[in-house]
């Protein structure tokens, strides 16, 4: 499918009306197409508004208890991970990464309540960089739910016609986690793939627009998460 076709499929995607064969191809495309991601974000509000055209109905009271009980039984994300790094050095990057991975955008009142706990819920994993083009420092910051961001210092801008592409690697599975350009004092990249325990995060240089799978050896690799 070409880009225009994908573009036309955004509505069906947010209406959950794509045929299974199109769905897979579209989601793959979505991972690399900023324009389509924006369109999906814009249209999903309109699609969800359709829910309000239906009269609301009170669910049976037992459903509430059942859901809360099932949630309690799971407790998937309750444990705040120990901080693995000394605070002052990493604080600025962590705060920036918090914003990048969506942990910093709510009420100020909550901010105060959650501040301390939030910092502890982040893991910082160091990156090794095998190229002179990235400066000294870099890390992957991962929140307890698996959302993650790359924080890189002094990474030179990608050459013309090229892009940096982030990957989340778990065993043999390699998933594209976003494209970026670099060229700033601090580059922060929100990873579009969850970073689960045992994963690595890597960065390659790829042709502009990115690729479905890495074509080069990564020049940045993290320790296992």
């Amino acid at each position: 499918m070409d880009a225009e076709t994908h573009h036309d499929l955004t509505s069906a995607y947010v209406l959950d009306a794509l045929d299974p064969s199109d769905l897979e191809a579209f989601e793959e495309h979505l991972a690399t197409c900023v324009r389509c991601r924006e369109l999906v974000a814009e249209l999903s509000g309109a699609a969800a508004a359709l829910a309000y055209a239906v009269p609301p109905v009170s669910p049976p009271p037992a459903l509430r208890a059942r859901i809360l009980e099932a949630a309690r039984a799971e407790r998937p994300n309750v444990v705040a991970l120990r901080p693995r790094w000394a605070m002052p050095a990493a604080a600025a990057a962590a705060i920036a990464a918090c914003a990048a991975i969506g942990l910093g955008a709510w009420d100020l009142s909550l901010h105060d309540q959650l501040g301390a706990a939030r910092d502890q819920a982040l893991q910082r994993i160091p990156l090794r960089c095998s190229s002179p083009s990235c400066g000294a420092a870099g890390s992957v910051v991962v929140a307890s739910g698996g959302s993650g961001a790359l924080v890189l210092s002094n990474l030179v801008a990608a050459p013309a016609g090229k892009t940096y592409q982030a990957w989340v690697i778990r065993g043999r599975a390699v998933a594209s986690a976003g494209l970026f350009r670099g060229g700033q004092a601090t580059t922060i990249v929100t990873l579009s793939q969850p970073v689960r325990a045992g994963s690595l995060v890597a960065v390659t240089v790829e042709p502009a627009g990115g690729t479905a799978a890495p074509t080069r050896k990564p020049f940045i690799v993290s320790s296992p998460v």
């Binding site: 999903s44 309109a46 009269p55 109905v57």
Partner: protein, 221 residues
């Protein structure tokens, strides 16, 4: 778009149903935004999670019932969707979508998955009057009422073919190729109707000055 109406959900008393639950310490979270409740839910805050359910449970159940036309299946869809909220709250990005959009998207996806698995969608979606007419009460709330009128007015303003494609897809759970077959139209036609229709719907929902059907009316006398 809701903000333009002056109805900011987090502050709205009508959507607040924090039941005193025997299993839950009582804490008033009504002043928090939906997004803040999701953030607390990401910290495994059960009270916040329950408050989210209380805010969206009725809309969620109404939607699931509309798609599935079966109470037990609708309950399953709502339960799975809210467990999805519980599991996924820490991956929710408030910059990208409103929490309400995210939650209702999860509910719709679960309902559509179930309707396809159960092969229940062969009949036409039922008209409104068949479900949900009961239990309409003060609890229903001015906000939901106005929002319903607003979305219905926007739908009504779409060209018939576009509205048909969107309604059958969203409420009926039909895929594009199923719709093409059902309506006897080429797949490409269905795709363009769906794209044009939703884009138009978005414009209509975003423009507060189009029509006055949903404009909040104040009693002045």
């Amino acid at each position: 778009m809701l903000g333009e109406m002056g109805f900011v959900p987090p502050l709205l008393g009508s959507r607040r149903r924090l039941d005193a639950s025997a299993t839950m310490p009582r804490r008033d979270l009504a002043h928090l935004s939906d997004e803040a409740l999701v953030a607390l839910t990401a910290r495994s805050d059960e009270v916040a999670f329950a408050a989210l359910y209380d805010r969206f449970g009725r809309a969620a159940f109404g939607l699931a019932l509309r798609v599935l036309r079966d109470e037990a299946l609708a309950e399953d869809a709502v339960q799975e969707a809210f467990l999805g909220v519980w599991r996924g709250a820490s991956r929710f990005f408030p910059e990208r979508a409103k929490a309400s959009t995210w939650i209702l998207t999860l509910v719709h996806r679960r309902a559509v998955d179930l309707v396809r698995r159960e092969q229940r969608r062969r009949a036409d979606p039922l008209p409104d009057s068949d479900f949900g007419g009961r239990e309409r009460s003060a609890e229903d709330g001015a906000w939901l009422q106005l929002e319903r009128e607003r979305v219905q007015a926007a739908l009504a303003a779409l060209p018939d073919h576009q509205r048909e494609a969107i309604e059958l897809a969203y409420y009926g759970g039909f895929t594009q190729s199923e719709l093409a077959e059902r309506l006897g139209e080429p797949l490409g036609t269905i795709k363009s109707r769906m794209f044009a229709g939703l884009a138009r719907l978005r414009e209509l929902l975003d423009s507060p000055l189009d029509g006055d059907a949903w404009t909040p009316r104040r009693t002045t006398t």
